[in-house]
């Protein structure tokens, strides 16, 4: 989902940067407040960030014959709320833009928007919905991480389609082309991310049950019960 350096026209790059900035500020404030109130949660925030670092470094083969990577931001969104994952995703993308020439500084705003904003917020929304529908924890976590991942890649496709509408078919045809590259490739990878997120959440529920009680991942399914 990384839009390469310089591959968004200036106006688009600027617009996505402006759109992402307030979320980043909100996320920093939200994560900071959380850690001041519950300093013992530092470890789990570290694990959430580590999960995003690990998963977004793994380029996995897909059935379409191309490679892509999961994002790993769904886990943190279910633990600390979606806003807290914005700075985490930002750090991952900045690391890759500065050192790896993967993504870029001019496209950082757009990439933050898809991976660190849309991904976590969709994951959180799907989880709330799934809990409202009385799904048990594991399927709800799986769906949340999986669909959050897919939403990120659909957003990238849309960002590119808006910047490069097809001369004949316009934004829609262009979106089809980019989604054919990104979203289709991502389907099995999103399932992988969903499964890995369930595995980590299960381990956390076993070892960090007390901290998890007040986090959405355990609090929301409980609230949905009659």
């Amino acid at each position: 989902m990384h839009i390469m350096e310089g591959f968004l026209p200036f106006k688009h790059a600027l617009a996505w940067t402006v759109a992402s900035a307030p979320f980043l500020a909100w996320g920093l404030a939200s994560a900071g407040r959380r850690l001041r109130e519950h300093p013992q949660e530092r470890m789990l925030l570290g694990v959430s960030a580590a999960f995003a670092f690990l998963l977004s470094a793994l380029k996995l083969p897909s059935v379409t014959g191309s490679c892509s990577h999961p994002t790993g931001v769904g886990l943190g969104a279910l633990l600390f709320g979606p806003a807290a994952m914005v700075p985490v995703g930002f750090v991952v993308l900045l690391f890759q833009a500065l050192l790896l020439a993967h993504g870029g500084l001019t496209t950082l705003g757009a990439n933050v928007f898809s991976m660190a904003i849309v991904g976590p917020f969709v994951a959180y929304g799907v989880f709330r919905l799934a809990c409202g529908l009385r799904l048990s924890r594991s399927p709800a976590v799986f769906l949340a991480a999986c669909l959050g991942d897919l939403a990120t890649y659909c957003t990238t496709s849309l960002q590119l389609a808006l910047a490069f509408p097809d001369p004949a078919g316009g934004v829609l045809l262009s979106f089809e082309k980019f989604a054919g590259i990104f979203a289709l490739t991502q389907l099995p990878l999103a399932a992988t991310e969903g499964l890995l997120t369930v595995l980590v959440v299960n381990a956390m529920a076993q070892f960090n049950a007390r901290e998890l009680q007040r986090m959405p991942v355990l609090a929301l399914p409980r609230r949905a019960l009659p």
Binding site: M4, L54, A57, V63, G65, L189, Q206
Partner: protein, 120 residues
Amino acid sequence: MSRIKTGLMWAAVVALTTVPLLWVGQGPLDEQGAAGELFEGADARAQQAISRIAPDYKPWFSPVLQPSSSEIASLLFALQAALGAGVIGYWLGASRTRAAAARGDGEAPATDTPATPPQP
């Protein structure tokens, strides 16, 4: 979560990753029906799609630091993954030890039963 379910999930993760490797024999087809490079990154394919849709588009900024070879790039990606895996490994190890100490047997727990918090 039972050990069997955990094992099945790991098996599914491995299958989702290895089946494409064994099963897919050629790269994705572009609009002209020509097969692309096998297991090329989706990001690079999107870049090619851009140059097909807008052949006149010139990137207006280039990366500040370009890894000097694909070996250096994979070194940095490995470093990123190692950082993440290291922190997760530390947390798992510390958690198991703490759970075992709380149970008072000093050994890492062998079962999947939830750890009991220490009694005050």
